[in-house]
């Protein structure tokens, strides 16, 4: 088991205005330093709500969360300085170049001048984008956009990074590149919280996963351990289907 918990969630509940059912029901969870933690679940299970609360976008209805010892209510500004978020959508300005986007987001983390320029150059080079750094994002391919989307969340060397389906809809090469980089920064000490619908990817990447459905954790553990616990299923995807059911979840 890795080090001490970097994220502690206790009895977290979120009820949206007008909703009959809570989106999250008394969720409690510890995420440890240097983990790659997978948050898995069907659409509408509560993954995005959980991540949004951890990032300070929504306030919980009830419950308590700390990140690196900082309280989500009292120390949200400090928390935002140590976390990085890579949204599922390409959250970039299409009419700005990659460099302009990264400079702006770097500035928002308080980075400026030469250190920021060096950081941007390093990441662009790392992801094979330095030749295209002056092109508008609108002219980038899907894979290139995903890579810039990822860089924007890493510029300030966050202790914890939240990735919401970072590899959706991209080519295999870009996917491999992104996953390899995530493994690399994890080995260097970054804690990663990751959501995905690709079970095989989660099984290979994550040190632990939580399967959540209808706002509650229904299974938690090491992917290999979970498979071992359910010998009747050959992989994580089969376990996931078994636990969450076969019916479609088109609502969010």
């Amino acid at each position: 088991m890795p080090d001490s918990p970097i994220i502690q969630i206790r009895d977290l509940t979120k009820v949206y205005k007008g909703a009959e059912e809570p989106a999250i029901k008394g969720l409690s969870l510890d995420i440890f330093r240097h983990e790659i933690f997978g948050l898995l679940g069907p659409n509408g299970a509560g993954k995005t709500t959980t991540i949004s609360i951890l990032c300070g976008l929504f306030k919980p209805t009830m419950g308590h969360v700390t990140i690196d010892g900082l309280d989500i209510h009292a120390d949200i500004k400090e928390i935002k300085q140590i976390i990085g978020v890579v949204p599922q959508d390409i959250a970039l300005y299409p009419t700005l170049t990659a460099r302009e986007n990264l400079t702006f987001f770097g500035n928002m983390y308080g980075l400026h001048g030469k250190p920021l320029r060096e950081k941007i150059n390093h990441f662009l080079s790392e992801f094979g984008l330095e030749k295209h750094s002056g092109k508008l994002i609108a002219k980038y391919s899907g894979g290139m956009k995903r890579r810039v989307n990822l860089i924007a969340g890493l510029l300030h060397d966050p202790k914890v990074i939240f990735l919401d389906e970072p590899t959706v809809g991209i080519d295999v090469q870009s996917r491999v590149e992104i996953l390899n980089y995530l493994k690399k920064i994890n080995q260097e000490g970054t804690t990663i919280i990751y959501t995905s619908h690709y079970m095989e990817e989660a099984e290979n990447l994550c040190t632990r996963v939580a399967i959540i459905d209808q706002g509650s954790i229904i299974s938690l553990g090491n992917p290999k351990g979970l498979v071992a616990e359910h010998p009747e299923f050959k992989n994580l995807e089969s376990i996931f289907i078994h636990l969450t059911g076969k019916e479609m979840r088109d609502w969010t």
Partner: protein
């Protein structure tokens, strides 16, 4: 502060790469100013220096009335009296046909014998009056009847406005009264000379005692001549400033929909910082628009033969007024953008509401032409306050003191829009698309 300037820089880059948006903000209003000024020069400037309105004139009378009506039109310097088309004298039939075709707006036909009829009737009236002094035998006069009235026919194109028709007919009537008065005066003298040989007619000619003097009172000594340019430049500048509601709301909503705002919500930067950067940038755009439009009014419009814009005499008042209008416009954009959920909603509501507020505020039609109810309603439009303020500066030569009521209203409007946006944002998380 560094984050604010970084956000400001980002807004600048987004703005200068939106070519269609820039055209909407700068080119469209300038084109509107030129077109509107050229179109309205005919109607609006009737209070000052008129262009010559062509008028077909058929004088079948060839006597005092016809001559005086023609003389009256010429001396007014408002009408170009045309008696020949292609060197062929105009007849009643050709004049009527020309107006029917829309070639001319007005044709006037003075029928043959009009003056003769008037003169004859005047003589009868004078004789009947003098009969009271025993100069004529009333029994003889009883058999003399007044002749029937004669009609001066005026053919109007259907597009000619009622007010203009009335003014034209009044002008003809005024000439008729003048002719009749002179005839009565002359007729009295003539009859008195016949009846009383000792009577020496005075060597005087009738002249109008009542004269009219036109002035345009203003706050400054130098006289300002109102014209279409003095109205159109501020009017369309205000319209353009408020039209930033479109790019401003699009920018707000695009950021929400594309997920950038979601990302920014996870960063250590206050939402207000980001919004204020947008407000700052669009305020700058509004000020830039004003400079562009005013320069257009001063340099471009004279190229089209229009008068040059007169900026008034108080530059600080102009800057203050522009700043307040810009703040009101940006505040309105922020409010619409905050409340609207989609691009379509913002574009439809934003553009239609600006058009309504501008029409209501007197940007398109002067307030004095509106019915009483609309005059009251127009007071509710911030664009009305804006145009009133600019009128005070451009047309009345006002200073800061004279625009304070408008400045105060616009500032309150700005505060209200910020308040509504803030309350709405508190109720609904801005990061929730």
């Amino acid at each position: 502060m560094r984050k604010y300037f970084a956000a400001l820089r980002k807004e600048w880059l987004l703005l200068i790469r939106d070519k269609a948006g820039l055209a909407l903000l700068f080119i469209m209003p300038l084109v509107l100013i030129v077109i509107s000024s050229l179109m309205q020069e005919f109607g609006w400037s009737s209070v000052t220096k008129d262009p010559m309105i062509p008028i077909l004139f058929v004088d079948n009378d060839m006597d005092s009335l016809g001559i005086n009506i023609k003389k009256g039109f010429i001396s007014s310097q408002s009408f170009d009296v045309i008696e020949k088309i292609n060197n062929i004298p105009v007849t009643e039939a050709t004049a009527k046909a020309a107006v029917a075709r829309g070639d001319y707006l007005i044709a006037i036909v003075v029928p043959k014998g009009t003056t003769k009829t008037i003169r004859s009737n005047v003589r009868v009236m004078v004789a009947k009056t003098l009969a009271g002094f025993g100069m004529f035998d009333p029994a003889l006069l009883d058999n003399i009847k007044l002749k029937d009235t004669v009609n001066v026919t005026v053919y109007f194109d259907p597009t000619v406005k009622r007010a203009f028709k009335n003014a034209l007919i009044s002008s003809i009537k005024a000439n008729n009264y003048k002719v009749e008065t002179e005839m009565i005066f002359r007729s009295f003298n003539q009859e008195l000379s016949i009846q009383m040989p000792a009577y020496q007619p005075p060597n005087v000619s009738y002249h109008e005692v009542l004269q009219f003097r036109e002035e345009y009172p203003s706050f400054r000594k130098r006289e300002l001549i109102p014209n279409t340019v003095q109205h159109n430049v501020p009017a369309w500048t205000i319209f353009a400033m408020f039209f930033i509601v479109i790019p401003f709301t699009q920018s707000l909503i695009r950021e929400r929909e594309e997920g950038s705002l979601f990302r920014l919500g996870t960063m250590p930067v206050p939402y207000m910082n980001l919004v204020m950067a947008k407000v700052g940038m669009y305020l700058f755009v509004c000020l830039l628009q004003t400079v562009f439009m005013l320069l257009g009014g001063m340099l471009l419009l004279p190229v089209f033969g229009l008068p040059m814009l007169d900026l008034g005499s108080d530059f600080i008042a102009l800057v203050l007024m522009t700043l307040m209008v810009a703040m009101a416009a940006v505040g309105y954009g922020l409010m619409v953008g905050t409340i609207s959920k989609t691009h379509q909603q913002a574009a439809a509501f934003g553009s239609i509401s600006v058009i309504i507020l501008s029409a209501m505020g007197g940007l398109w039609v002067p307030i004095y032409l509106m019915p009483p109810f609309m005059k009251t309603v127009s007071q509710l439009s911030p664009m009305n306050w804006a145009i009133s303020g600019y009128y005070n500066i451009f047309l009345r030569g006002g200073s800061i003191v004279n625009i304070l009521p408008e400045v105060f209203r616009l500032f309150i409007f700005f505060l209200m829009t910020i308040l509504v946006s803030s309350i709405y944002r508190k109720i609904k998380s801005p990061f929730n698309a």
